[in-house]
């Protein structure tokens, strides 16, 4: 049996490992158009910001590791088309290759900014590690950086440029950074800290065109022109489904490939995983797209195991998330108040400010927790947090609480670790839940 995987990101690598595990005797071939596989693109901003010393540190395993493990990876090899009827793919320079099972992990692309000058050289999109290495060399001589769009990668890049000592401009039409994702009270300290780092926030400002002759030299906005040595375009992610749609594989309202809980697509013997698919959300059951690398890897494993003849299932997602923004860490699960308000999901808000360790212990920091509760069944609709420590763990906990449908009453009166250097007397999530209970 020959299993072909297209894409060398987290989903593709997960799929190849899953397929090998389920069908050790199968021939598993992975095609990627890039020079590397199995690295962490999410780490790129932190190398630019000098928190991580070298780009090589982002590569989880080198090519020899995959070779020794028996993985057949075809680097810099483009798959041009898929014929699901004859079960073959067209590989650039090689012609037709037959498959018995196919897994697509074709990832995502940046949304086209759709403004004049988008084709100018020098506009940088954070994605590929080799391009990031080249871009990083430009940063040594650059003085002014402009980041377009306040998406998570945009916030991370702006923070990285500030750490690097560049004059950093951040342009976004939203009222506050990450306005599509995070609530204003969560972003308030973040915004303040970004300004404190010297980042010029141009909120309520749209980018009208990129200015330059051949290469970008400025960004024209609705509030004037900003000269720039480097420009990072951090528009929203869109699923890369070009191959799939050309092959007649169905996509949904997000643009992502439609899959079931086994990651099977609408085509026989074709599975898909990662940022190219759409997955139902656990609260609304409506599909969403563009999750994290850990989601992509887990989905890839499910797709690979099933392609190898095994039986695995994936579940609707709660989407725990977290990131460093300015000098703070923000995170949450599922819906914030802004998104819940947008969709009209019934909710009650509970909010509390707590601390990360005993107040008398040196180095304690503030944690703000905001929980959204369904007034009817008293379970969580979502939550958001801002703090310095423990945000990731709390987001993971809230995601499990949602999955297990734990009532807010139980979170309000949960037991918690109390130890002065690592935990305060009162758990901030419990305080926020108690606040919500008072409104139910």
């Amino acid at each position: 049996m020959r299993i072909v995987v297209v894409g060398g990101g987290a989903a593709g690598i997960g799929a190849q490992g899953g397929a090998k595990g389920a069908a050790p005797d199968a021939e598993v071939i992975l095609y990627t158009e890039y020079e590397d596989v199995g690295y962490s693109p999410c780490g790129i901003p932190f190398v630019h910001g000098k928190e991580i010393e070298r780009f090589e540190d982002l590569i989880l395993q080198d090519k020899k590791f995959y070779e020794d493990a028996g993985f057949d990876i075809r680097y810099t090899t483009r798959v041009e088309s898929i014929d699901t009827a004859s079960q073959e793919i067209q590989v650039a320079g090689q012609g037709a290759v037959k498959y018995d099972r196919l897994v697509l992990g074709t990832g995502w692309n940046y949304e086209d900014p759709g403004i004049p000058g988008s084709d100018l050289a020098g506009l940088h999109y954070v994605k590929n590690i080799r391009r990031a290495m080249e871009f990083d060399k430009l940063l040594d001589d650059a003085k002014v950086a402009v980041v377009v769009d306040a998406t998570p990668i945009g916030v991370e890049m702006a923070t990285a440029f500030a750490h690097r000592g560049l004059e950093t401009h951040f342009v976004d039409p939203g009222g506050w950074p990450l306005a599509d994702v995070a609530d204003p009270e969560i972003m308030e300290p973040v915004e303040e800290s970004m300004r404190g780092l010297g980042i010029h926030l141009h909120m309520q400002t749209s980018v009208e065109r990129f200015v330059g002759e051949g290469s970008v030299r400025a960004v024209a906005t609705s509030k004037g022109e900003i000269p720039a040595d480097v420009v990072v375009v951090a528009t929203h992610k869109t699923p890369n489904t070009q191959l799939a749609t050309a092959a007649g594989i169905k996509t949904g309202s997000t643009g992502g490939i439609i899959v079931d809980d086994g990651m099977a697509t609408s085509a026989e013997n074709v599975w898909a995983a990662g940022d190219c698919v759409e997955i139902p959300h656990s609260v609304t059951k409506v599909p969403i797209n563009g999750l994290s690398g850990s989601h992509a890897y887990a989905q890839g494993k499910v797709a690979g195991v099933n392609a190898g003849g095994g039986e695995r299932a994936y579940q609707a997602v709660q989407v725990p998330w977290g990131m460093v923004a300015g000098t703070w860490t923000i995170g949450g699960v599922s819906f914030g108040e802004t998104l819940a308000t947008a969709l009209g999901i019934p909710h009650v808000v509970g909010m509390a400010d707590g601390i990360s360790k005993a107040r008398y212990y040196p180095g304690w920091s503030r944690i703000r927790v905001k929980l959204l509760v369904d007034p009817k069944d008293r379970t969580l609709v979502g939550g958001q947090m801002v703090g310095v420590e423990g945000i990731k763990e709390r987001a993971d906990f809230l995601a499990m609480a949602m999955r297990a449908r734990i009532p807010i009453d139980d979170i309000a009166w949960m037991e918690n670790v109390y130890s002065p250097p690592i935990g305060a007397l009162n758990e901030p999530m419990a305080l926020a839940a108690q606040n919500a209970l008072g409104k139910l």
Binding site: P173, G174, G175, W176, A179, D180, D183, P184, E185, E188, M203, Q204, T205, S206, S222, K250, T251, G252, S253, T254, G255, G256, I258, V259, D260, D261, G262, V277, E278, I279, P280, T284, K285, V286, P287, A298, Q299, K301, V302, V305, E311, R312, A313, Y314, Q315, A316, E337, T338, L339, T341, A342, L343, G344, I345, P346
Partner: protein, 81 residues
């Protein structure tokens, strides 16, 4: 499917924009998002958003779930990844 993608993109954009305006009024003394005026935006802001907001949650949810997508396929099994 292109129609449903177009519908969802626009609906999400303008519902989020309206929610951000509300949130800005509540928490930030009105510094909401930039709202460029176009004929298309007029329809979504003045017609779609108010009508959507009048609908009860059960109806909104029913409409969202009626859209084609992954949620219409089998998602009943317990995770085992």
């Amino acid at each position: 499917m292109k129609f449903f993608r177009w519908l969802r993109q626009n609906a999400e954009h303008y519902l989020l924009e309206a929610a951000q305006v509300d949130m800005a009024k509540k928490h930030r003394a009105g510094s909401g998002p930039l709202q460029p005026r176009t004929p298309q935006a007029f329809f979504w802001r003045r017609v779609f958003v108010p009508i959507y907001r009048l609908l009860p949650w059960s109806v909104r949810r029913m409409i969202m779930r009626a859209m084609p997508g992954s949620h219409r396929r089998s998602w009943e099994r317990r995770a085992s990844n």
